[in-house]
């Protein structure tokens, strides 16, 4: 980046203030959807609670197979008598009341460890993606009325304490549509989760990031879908919910300015993450198709061949029998073959057996 772009700050009434903040370097971090998805998948597993079948489930019988000769399947059967259960199959995963196949164990590895650097890279990517309006609206946030992306609000917001004020602010920023979307999409979950304390489902609203909580959390926390987070504790699960990049984030000015300390830059180490610098992209302009199509490259590229290559041959021809193919493989063969043919003719024509040596030869031979 030659000159760092500058982001305007919005006041409590939604109007643009004179103050501006230079764009933190995080927003220029490479956006890596693959990495974000990988890290998100791992991080999402860290909140799990173990589940398992009862250890002795299906095995609390003394069933034994009846063996052959009784006109029944050889599966172990419950012994005894006087009850329905007697003679019923047991123990198999296919039997009724039997143990399941590979019973779940609580010692399954529920939590996944991810490399710190990967986690930081993913978070940086997610923050960068939140600064791309196309990604934010593609993710489904209603930001068509927003004045600027990333959206930075003045520091006074951190001192808000009434939800009414929070709503007024969101409406002034034209960000309330996203909150309204959340309440409109609140519905009862399909499936058993209904009766497992996961009754309702709703979309996600804006993520409000602050630097210091002077009441802001109390103002915004009751709004449906709105999440609050300290800038020093940015969470990938909130920045890229579901592993999908582009959460709508509302930054307070102090939080926005603090991002440089949190993430540092590609050259300058971060203050919060000791010794960490932002990842350097492998390719500075990732839009490969545009690069290829650019004038600079097209000017030096050789002309392309036919779009559909013709097949070299449909029928393989033996070079030992087909001269053309032979010559294609070995061009000198033509010369040899020609010479051969000529020599043959010559031979037949010119070669004559001599009965005696020539006179000159005899002269030389006899000369002393």
């Amino acid at each position: 980046m030659a000159a760092r772009p500058v982001v305007s700050v919005f006041g409590l009434n939604g109007s643009k203030l004179d103050a501006t903040v230079p764009l933190p370097s995080v927003f220029t971090a490479p956006i890596r959807p693959d990495l974000v998805q990988f890290v998100h998948k791992n991080m999402a597993k860290n909140r799990r609670q173990p589940y398992a079948a009862k250890q002795q489930a299906g095995e609390e019988t003394s069933a034994e197979s009846w063996g052959t000769g009784r006109a029944v399947a050889r599966i172990p059967r419950v012994g005894g008598g006087g009850t329905h259960r007697a003679g019923q199959a047991a123990f198999g995963n296919m039997t009724r009341g039997g143990r399941m196949f590979a019973p779940n164990k609580v010692w399954r590895k529920w939590h996944i460890r991810t490399n710190s650097n990967q986690k930081r890279y993913a978070t940086a990517s997610a923050v960068a993606a939140s600064g791309v309006s196309a990604l934010v609206s593609g993710r489904g946030h209603r930001i068509s009325g927003i004045e600027e992306v990333p959206l930075v609000v003045a520091a006074e917001v951190e001192s808000l304490s009434k939800t009414k004020e929070a709503i007024a602010l969101l409406k002034a920023l034209k960000a309330y549509a996203d909150v309204a979307k959340v309440s409109n999409t609140r519905s009862i979950r399909a499936g058993r989760g209904k009766m497992r304390n996961r009754r309702h489902r709703q979309r996600r609203g804006p993520l409000v990031v602050f630097a210091e909580d002077k009441g802001i959390s109390r103002a915004f926390r009751n709004l449906p879908g709105v999440e609050l987070v300290d800038v020093t504790r940015l969470n990938l699960l909130q920045l890229a919910p579901g592993g999908h990049l582009g959460r709508f984030v509302i930054w307070t000015q102090p939080a926005f300015e603090a991002l440089n300390k949190v993430f540092g830059s590609q050259t300058e180490a971060s203050v919060q993450k000791k010794g960490y610098t932002l990842p350097i992209p492998v390719i500075t302009n990732p839009d490969v198709s545009r690069l290829i199509g650019s004038d600079e490259i097209q000017a030096v590229v050789r002309p392309s061949g036919p779009k559909n290559m013709r097949r070299p041959f449909a029928q393989k021809k033996n070079p030992l029998r087909n001269t053309q193919v032979l010559v294609r493989l070995n061009p000198y063969a033509q010369v040899l073959r020609r010479a051969e043919l000529l020599g043959k003719n010559k031979k037949t024509k010119k070669y004559t057996h001599k009965k005696s040596a020539s006179a000159k030869f005899l002269q030389i031979l006899k000369a002393d």
């Binding site: 927003f27 791309v132 309006s133 196309a134 990604l135 068509s144 990732p286 545009r290």
Partner: protein, 343 residues
């Protein structure tokens, strides 16, 4: 930062809220998409330089997006209203999108063509006086039909007509020597006048008769809320509500011509006019024969069958001719008033 290639990679491979997967391929629900398809070229999100033609409220706009405004979602699209003249609109597109990719210009023009075509078609259709199809709701139809029948029966038009006519005779509206009147009826009326002149005091019996008569008249012909319920006991819950009663009253009143429910609010004032209206309507229908038989026989118009239960009443009345009875049971309040006065 904002990079078209990355945006496309994310939206195509991860998630795009506008993408719709169908058998015909992926479609795009984004309102600014120029073709409606979801592909690298047509995605309004993955192309920082983009143009569409959109129609809002009959007006056609050329909408353009450039990379310079990529970070301002509120002002991202530059809308230019295209002239109504098609050729001029094409020219405007050519002028605004000069040096833009050729395919984009062509698609915008195609879209403009299609939009103008359908707008023309819409305007033409509007002028066509298209008949609207209204569904027949079986339950509703059945309910209304049966209500009409019941209301007609409850109204006892024939009785009210008879009463009205007799009243008019009595009140000498037709003069001292009316024409086409049954002799016996006329005589009774005259006698009735004489009797009335004699005694103003009404005996108990007469009172009882009156009450009975009144009561029965009311039950028979009244369309007042309370009594109507008894009459229509089989109906659904809807009848119990006031709104439905209002409707009932309206339905009942359909036979009485174009009268709004507001007319019923001041009953006494309008009762006479109502009666007259009723009379006029029925007068035109009825013939001489009907009039002569009005007192004795039940009037059965060709359309509806005579309700047998109600028939004894008129006969009883003519025989036991008590003091002049004023009965108005067309309206709820009127009936009540008369009931109160005659207690």
């Amino acid at each position: 930062m904002n990079n078209d290639g990355i945006v496309w990679e994310v939206l195509n491979n991860q998630f795009c809220s506008f993408k719709v997967k169908t058998d015909l391929g992926n479609l795009c629900r984004h309102p600014y998409n120029v073709t409606g398809r979801c592909n690298r070229r047509d995605c309004p999100l993955a192309n920082s330089k983009y143009a569409t033609v959109r129609e809002r409220g009959g007006r056609i706009y050329l909408c353009m997006k450039t990379a310079e405004r990529a970070h301002i979602p509120a002002k991202q699209w530059e809308k230019i209203e295209l002239p109504k003249n098609f050729a001029q609109a094409i020219e405007v597109i050519d002028k605004e999108l000069i040096y833009w990719p050729g395919w984009m210009i062509n698609i915008c023009k195609q879209r403009l063509t299609r939009i103008t075509q359908y707008l023309i078609r819409m305007r033409r259709l509007k002028l066509k006086n298209k008949t609207t199809l209204v569904p027949i709701k079986k339950k509703l139809e059945r309910r209304e039909k049966s209500r009409e029948i019941r209301a007609e029966a409850a109204a006892r038009l024939d009785q009210s007509i008879e009463k009205e006519l007799l009243e008019r005779l009595k009140s000498k509206a037709y003069g001292d020597q009316p024409l086409n009147v049954n002799e016996s009826v006329w005589k009774e009326i005259l006698e009735g006048d004489a009797v009335e002149a004699e005694s103003d005091v009404t005996t108990e019996d007469e009172l009882e008769d009156e009450e009975e008569y009144e009561y029965e008249e009311e039950t028979a012909g009244s369309s007042s809320g309370r009594l109507a319920r008894e009459f229509v006991a089989d109906d659904s819950d809807a009848d119990d509500s006031d709104a439905e009663d209002g409707d009932d009253v309206e339905d009942d009143m359909e036979d009485f011509g174009d009268m709004s429910p507001s007319d019923f609010s001041s009953a006494d004032d309008d009762s006479a006019s109502e009666g007259e209206d009723v009379n006029d309507e029925d007068d035109s229908d009825m013939d001489d024969s009907d009039e002569s038989d009005s007192a004795k026989k039940p009037i059965s118009k060709g359309k509806r069958p005579a309700a047998p239960a109600a028939r004894p009443k008129p006969a009883k009345r003519t025989k036991k001719h008590g003091p002049r009875v004023e009965v108005e049971y067309e309206t709820e309040s009127a009936a009540r008033d008369t009931m109160l006065t005659n207690w």
